[in-house]
């Protein structure tokens, strides 16, 4: 179906629309369609291994999973078909006017997420999140590492106390949190 035409809010003046050059198959769209088919396949495998219920039920536990699997496989096939007929990405304004991919920013951001995964277990939330903060800020072009680190320390500690003390979320105290708790003269809970 055609989307209702929303006049674009983005660049003023409007760039001339570049015609799509039909350079072979739109591989990205095809990959997206195939990914949906693969998701359907994965779900099908999981739906097949649902144990048969010993409890009587008018509709068993498998009915809806199979319906969802069927839907996903059909939709995936539809997307693949659409991709083979030229795809849809070239019609998206966001893709057409997008700046080139910024691999440096993306890599730094991913590094921040991975650093957090690695550090949060042994050192606790605040330290891991501080490292993540500095890396993410760098990804978006910040050059002031020491200011970022200082800000991050304050923010992550404040966030930890906000969640733990005010919202009552149970998040174990890490290295930094224990330090602050001791300075405040309180024993960190085991």
């Amino acid at each position: 179906m055609g989307a209702p035409h929303i006049p674009a809010a983005a660049p003023d003046g409007g760039l001339p629309v570049r015609p799509h050059l039909g350079a072979g198959l739109p591989w990205p769209d095809l990959a997206a369609g195939l990914a949906v088919v693969a998701l359907g396949g994965l779900a099908l495998w999981q739906a097949l291994v649902i144990p048969v219920s010993p409890i009587y039920a008018q509709v068993g536990p498998k009915a809806v999973p199979f319906a969802v699997v069927g839907g996903l496989l059909l939709l995936g096939a539809g997307l693949v078909y659409e991709a083979l007929r030229g795809g849809w990405s070239h019609g998206l304004e966001e893709v057409r006017d997008a700046p080139p991919a910024n691999r440096r920013a993306f890599a730094l951001l991913l590094a921040g997420l991975v650093a957090n995964l690695a550090l949060i277990g042994p050192f606790g939330f605040s330290l891991a999140a501080t490292v993540q903060f500095v890396l993410v800020a760098a990804a978006f072009g910040s050059r002031r590492f020491f200011r970022d680190a200082a800000l991050a320390l304050a923010l992550t500690l404040a966030t930890w106390f906000l969640f733990v003390e005010l919202l009552g979320v149970n998040i174990g105290a890490g290295v930094l949190e224990e330090l602050v708790l001791r300075v405040l003269g309180r024993e960190p809970a085991a």
Binding site: M1, A9, L72, G121, S142, G168
Partner: protein, 498 residues
């Protein structure tokens, strides 16, 4: 209790206590802030605030959530006007004329008409909730599980296939959400489903995790991927005044927008895009010749006043199906619905009877929040605009800190964080390929409820699947859903014929 006047009297009595006023104020402040900040929206904020359901009573928590929901609508217009980057789909149209007014040094009147328009629309919408809600409840009490199932199917179709760029992609998002909702133990038979044998998944996939992955992690990853070096330009606010002419030109659009927006919000069609767009075209058509010349050139105030009112009224309308039927038609409403579940309150028509005090206090608080918001936004809009000066690197880094703690707090599990970042990558791809994210959240939360309604209906009919089409109301709703799905395509096929 279904008498609106008695209900409102009860509600205001509770809403005007100091504690509840405090929750409303906190929600309004938070909501305006997240509305102003690009990259965070009400859905993400409510998801991150869900832990308070363990600490605070239901009334306080829902007043807070609704304050955030309404506040974000006010704040969103500020960003559209001053930055020309609409924070959410409902503000796209506001950015159209509002940003042009700002470029011509008329940011002040644009912000003022948006704030007052939001107030009028919010009040009209809340009146609508108060008086329409009980009527819907009366009707809804007659519905059985089969009708409920049909309603949910209609809801699924409209949120995924009718709105947005493509029915195929919208439905794919929906089915992805339905799949996520299936993970965990089947409540009726106790069988584990789609858990890949991982014990952590027996409890299902956490709603907070999915919302944070979709709305924070995926968005940040996408923005990094597309990051352009260079500062953003924020237009100066100027003085927040409206001339007599501005006022005269705004009044009509405010009310037309409100009355146009509210019904769209109430219908399970959901969404704020359609009413804002209709309001924009209506105002452009109705405008006088000199005003029409301003449309698309120097920025017409009617083009801000009308769509902004429509946006807010539609947002208020979304609360009607949420509170009366338990049907969420936006991502934020879906997350609020999961908050009801965490209190053990089952949303639906019985809510007005069993939780009359909660519902009416909530509705009364919406009036209070509206007054607070117009007070916070008219004189203080310059202050909010200053939030826009937060450097982007720090903003996105901060969003990820909150995303991380919100998810890590669920169970102190690194597995959850791996899942969060993995789903974030999926969300980034969804953004790149124009798959909408709201149907994922709605499918995930509403899916299990739909399955339950379907099984109840089939238990009642003793396994007879025709029950969905032989009961007239259920059949009519399903026919409507089929029409919503097939109608636009049939129309397009006819239109293409020579």
């Amino acid at each position: 209790m279904t008498d609106p006047f008695a209900g409102l009297a009860l509600g205001f009595g509770n809403a005007l206590t100091l504690a509840n006023l405090g929750w409303a104020l906190l929600g309004c402040l938070l909501g305006t802030a997240v509305g102003v900040l690009p990259g965070i929206g009400p859905a993400l904020t409510v998801a991150l605030l869900l832990p308070i359901t363990f600490k605070v009573g239901a009334t306080g928590a829902f007043i807070l959530f609704c304050g955030v929901f309404y506040g974000a609508m006010y704040g969103g217009s500020t960003t559209s006007i001053l930055l020309n980057t609409p924070g959410e789909s409902g503000s796209i149209i506001t950015a159209l004329e509002g940003a042009k007014m700002a470029r011509n040094g008329r940011a002040g009147p644009a912000l003022a008409t948006a704030a007052i328009g939001s107030f009028i629309a919010g009040t009209v919408g809340t009146l609508g909730i108060s008086f329409l809600g009980p009527i819907v409840v009366e009707l809804a009490l007659q519905l059985g599980p089969a009708e409920y199932f049909a309603l949910m199917v209609l809801c699924f179709v409209t949120v995924s296939a009718v709105l947005g760029g493509s029915a195929l992609r919208g439905l794919t998002s929906l089915f992805f959400g339905l799949l996520l909702g299936l993970v965990g133990i089947d409540l009726q038979t106790g069988q584990p489903r789609l858990t890949f044998g991982i014990p952590e998944l027996l409890d299902g996939v956490n709603v907070v995790l999915v919302a944070v992955a979709l709305f924070a992690v995926g968005e940040t990853l996408y923005l990094a991927w597309r990051h352009l070096e260079g500062p953003q330009e924020v237009r100066p606010v100027g003085r927040i005044t409206m001339s007599r002419a501005d006022l005269r030109r705004s009044v009509g659009p405010w009310f037309r927008g409100s009355f146009l927006g509210f019904p769209f919000g109430v219908l399970p069609a959901g969404g704020t895009e359609m009413p804002t767009m209709l309001s924009y075209y209506a105002e452009r058509r109705l405008a006088g010749p000199e005003a029409r010349a301003e449309f698309g050139t120097s920025g017409a105030i009617e083009g801000v006043a009308g769509p902004e009112a429509a946006n807010n009224a539609a947002a208020a309308g979304i609360l009607v199906p949420m509170l009366t039927l338990g049907l969420p038609t936006s991502a934020t409403a879906a997350i609020m619905l999961s908050a009801f579940q965490s209190y053990g309150i089952s949303p639906g028509p019985l809510l007005f009877e069993q939780q009359a005090e909660l519902v009416w206090t909530l509705i009364a608080s919406l009036y209070v929040a509206n007054v607070m918001l117009v007070a916070l936004n008219l004189p203080l809009v310059g202050l909010w605009a200053r939030i826009l000066q937060v450097p982007r690197p720090l903003l996105y880094a901060g969003i990820l800190v909150f995303a991380t703690i919100g998810t890590y707090g669920i169970s102190n599990s690194v597995t959850d964080l791996v899942l969060l970042y993995g789903l974030g990558l999926v969300a980034m791809a969804m953004r790149r390929f124009d798959f909408p994210t709201a149907p994922v959240v709605i499918g995930m939360i509403l899916g299990p409820m739909a399955e339950q309604a379907m099984r109840q209906a089939l238990t009642i009919s003793q396994g007879d699947w025709t029950t969905f089409v032989t009961r007239p109301v259920s059949a009519a709703i399903l026919a409507l859903a089929a029409l919503a799905l097939a109608g636009p395509r049939l129309y397009a096929a006819f239109a293409r014929r020579p």
